[in-house]
Symmetry: C2
Subunit: 572 residues, 2 copies
């Protein structure tokens, strides 16, 4: 039934139910092969079919908050034939993409933007005098994010009607925390009772939204009926529809293990996860150092901190998807002499940029940012790559930025971080594949991994140091001597080592955007001349989805390219 | 009575009232001379005296949200003798500063951080097993900010008792907008009625906070009584105390003109404000171009847009102090073909960093950011300087960054921006003092203001171009020829002009941090060698308060320093 764009409106209830089964199977099959978001998409099948049945996409507009729950939407909007390329390099994205289909009106990836975007789109509609419906679908996890509240707060001010659907599955990636979540639960519990008597005002009505709930989002016919009714009401007001769905619906293993099956990875290569090292090391350190507190924003397991949270609940804080708030809480803790470790994905730390600048760094507080999924993170694409953190952090005064060359150096950095009395960022990728030989670790100092007089390769992070060492080896075969330097502190630069470099040719290599990163700092260091510098880093563009390996190669950072450059230029 | 730290607890009611008068006079006198925040501080006198009477600072901790209302607090904590240096270079800051006094436990400047910080401090207290009270004082304007909601949402999760005082004066800088504000008004209106009968649950109780209100924050004895009672209750729960204060209290002109007297500038020099040009130009453009929408986050008058808002209310959106939300609304508007102009102070745009990256730039949407108070902004200090925007914007793919050399070029950029089909940032300072000679304006292209063969000075913005032209003149007297280039687009660089430069010596000058700014982009452009480059920009530190002129000079960017460098190096 999924050829082209299925004509739902002409289908019988039986056919629609059969379609849901087909969608569910297609999602399970594809995600098992390609990786992707499983449980959340299984929960959304009926709701999405009902939305497509009742509304007229792409004339009507729908924004999926975060966006990873859009698979059924993609399958119903003419992308079923390409669905086997999901999350593959050059294939369709796991998130809504305007570039991909006119059915995707707004790209998402980070939590909480859907209501603001819906208000903007609806306001544009009203300014232009057009007539269509605008819908935001948002999970209860995103509901913690302050952006949603900011949007609610301006619903009456902007005064353009929208439909907000809360998809309440009691989970973000970890189970949802916070009072808003408890409130949603309370509403669900009261639902039946409320239906009978005069309802009290919900929190949403305080914001000028008409509240309708709670309904079973996995009951297709109920959803169709309810949405049909709401569609009419949208002419005159903004509505919030509260539905409960079952994460992992229709696939028993997922229903029972929603946290483990939120995101599925395709294939497995033997690796040590940096997050595991963070968890082990921090848990051990916290045993003797009572100042250590771990803070997360809704990703505790993926950040490796589940065990820490179990062992030290009184020194563990998960604030939900509120990256800015988490940063300020850390600053507050640090003013009182505690030692907070804020673990966060690189891309989500962007959400706390101002708080890192003002609250942490301008107060020069000893907060340690443990930045996971830094550099290219792979198959989630543009909105999840971590290629900007070296750039947006290095511009901030007072911060020290460390990039371990392997998991062992990461462990060492963590151990030494307890005595470091200022803002510290340690950035690392998901997987560690290699342990390099260690020289002694000297906090703030770079390390020369091999010595050669013609070219100095300054590289940071496991991925780049691996490539650099291989390129140096190839160059050596051509009698060109390369030093490979582990720039394990990107800020401040190790100027003692930099000033001692006698090589005329300098190469920088980093798993980060070119602008503002390590290369750019080195360029500025040598701006008064005398060196020939070549920067290997990501160009000035957003990086799409694909495997880490494919993407690094796409941007020309390979052993071959680096060694070719060296061989062609070293004797220039 | 203000010598040293006055012993409030030993004072009679009469003496306390006299103290309030003395404080009020001191504040008025000082702000009239030095500039500063007047109305908000006049409103806070009694509440602050009551807080100091009831609580034990610095053992107890108080965080002032945004912080500009802390003058009485400073006067009561041993800084009265230095109060005449308020906001002056080297003097005391207009905001709380840990570096200044142990009575200031947390630095603020940007809205909405106080509750998160209070929770962090209280959590630290509980982890350490200490016993003191933690208080956040927050205005109703800040209450719109999502960070406050994120903090509320985790009050029960973090489970450390704090007191939150809402100082409700119905104003942020503009009158407060949004549903939360209306809700606070409703609570005030219902206050008397509610006292009599069983109270309904407030929105705050939904977050696990015990609500007490509404009380007159300018009634000293009432405040002392209420705070004494609350201090006891804090042993067992978190409390939100809702007080109403009168902005400008005790100074008739301020009471009647709270918006105009929110911030007072010291002295006046003849200038044209860039914001006035923004307002005039945009209003004119909007007459014929129906796509133009103006968006602000609570600063409409200071951004020059009051007239636009009056003339085109249906195309004007002020979302309150919600910079992230404003950015996403703009992205939504742009997806529907409208042309949003988001006017915002440089320092506050930091709050929307992630939304500029993900929502605006990764979707490559034609949103124009009009960035006011860019570069050094002066007497508000660290938290209000705009020295980072070139750095945190230039790292973002797809964005174009323009820096007008004067108000006329700014006007020209605005006019041409309507046909520019991508994310555009235009950054400018508050005041324009000079109009330079114009060549024809070519979008994206730099402009050579004078020609000389020895040194090329690449400068951006009025302040730097003024200095550059003067330095070039001095160098000319020593027979050194300088080209001065107006780098009116910092991104992308005008590589055509850069590659045509024959001078061996390059100087860059910018009103921005060195790291990641114009200089750093030019350094990277020439990284392969052949040039001797010197970057004039701000060093890697937070810039304190002082006048623009004093601060620029402090960081060595002066005609003398630049011309000295040229004279010593041009023939090297």
């Amino acid at each position: 039934m999924l050829d082209g764009i299925p004509d739902l409106k002409s289908m019988s209830a039986e056919q629609l139910n059969a379609l849901c089964d087909e969608l569910r199977n297609k999602i399970i099959d594809t995600v098992m092969k390609n990786g992707g978001h499983l449980s959340s998409n299984l929960g959304m099948v009926e709701l999405t079919v009902a939305l497509h049945y009742v509304f007229d996409f792409p004339k009507d507009k729908i924004i999926y908050d975060v966006g990873h729950q859009c698979y059924t939407h993609k399958l119903l909007s003419g992308r079923a034939d390409r669905f086997d390329t999901l999350r593959k390099f050059g294939g369709i994205s796991g998130f809504p993409k305007r570039e991909e289909s006119e059915y995707d009106c707004y790209n998402t990836g980070h939590a909480g933007t859907s209501v603001s975007a819906a208000l903007g789109i609806a306001k544009a509609r009203d300014i232009k005098g057009e007539d269509f419906k605008v819908i935001a679908v948002i999970g209860d996890g995103s509901f913690n994010n302050g952006l949603v509240y900011e949007a609610f707060n301006s619903v009456s001010e902007i005064n353009s009607n929208i439909l907000i659907i809360i998809n309440d599955n009691h989970m973000s990636i970890s189970p949802t925390v916070g009072s808003m979540h408890e409130y949603l639960e309370k509403l669900s519990a009261e639902s039946e009772q409320r239906a009978k008597k005069k309802r009290h005002e919900t929190i949403f009505e305080r914001f000028g939204l008409s509240y309708e709930g709670v309904y079973d989002g996995n009951d297709l016919l109920c959803m169709i009926e309810k949405l049909t009714e709401i569609k009419q009401k949208l002419q005159t007001k903004s509505i919030i529809l509260h539905v409960v769905t079952k994460k992992g619906k229709g696939y028993l293993y997922c229903e029972e293990n929603p946290q483990e099956t939120h995101g599925i990875s395709a294939g497995h290569v033997k690796s040590t996860e940096y997050s595991a090292v963070l968890g082990q090391t921090l848990t051990q350190m916290a045993l003797t150092d009572k100042r250590i507190v771990a803070v997360t924003a809704a990703m505790t397991p993926s950040l490796g901190l589940s065990h820490f949270f179990e062992k030290y609940p009184e020194r563990s804080i998960d604030v939900g998807i509120c990256e800015s708030h988490a940063a300020v809480v850390c600053a507050g803790l640090a003013t009182e002499g505690l030692k907070p470790y804020y673990a966060v994905y690189s891309t989500f730390l962007q959400r706390a940029f101002d708080q890192v600048v003002v609250d942490i760094c301008s107060q020069n507080l000893p907060v340690t940012l443990c930045i996971d999924r830094a550099g290219i993170s792979g198959t989630d694409g543009e909105t999840h790559q971590g290629e900007f953190d070296l750039s947006f952090l290095s511009l901030i005064p007072n911060i020290t930025i460390a990039v371990p060359k392997d998991v062992e150096e990461f462990r060492q950095m963590l151990i030494e971080s307890v005595n470091f009395n200022g803002p510290l960022a340690i950035r690392y990728p998901k997987d560690g594949f290699r342990i390099f030989e260690n020289t002694s670790f000297d906090f703030g100092k770079w390390e020369k991994l091999c010595d050669g007089g013609d070219v100095a390769i300054i590289a940071c992070g496991e991925r780049m140091i691996s490539l650099a060492l291989s390129a140096a080896q190839i160059a050596a075969e051509e009698d060109i001597g390369c030093s490979v330097i582990n720039a394990r502190f990107v800020k401040p630069l190790d100027t003692q080592m930099l000033s001692s470099l006698t090589q005329k040719h300098i190469i920088t290599m980093e798993d980060n955007a070119l602008i503002g990163g390590l290369g750019s700092l080195v360029d500025s260091y040598f701006s008064e001349g005398g060196k020939i510098i070549k920067n290997f880093a990501y160009p000035d563009e957003f990086i799409p989805h694909g495997s880490v390996k494919e993407l690094i190669a796409k941007y020309g950072i390979s052993v071959k390219n680096v060694s070719d450059y060296i061989i062609s230029n070293a004797h220039r």
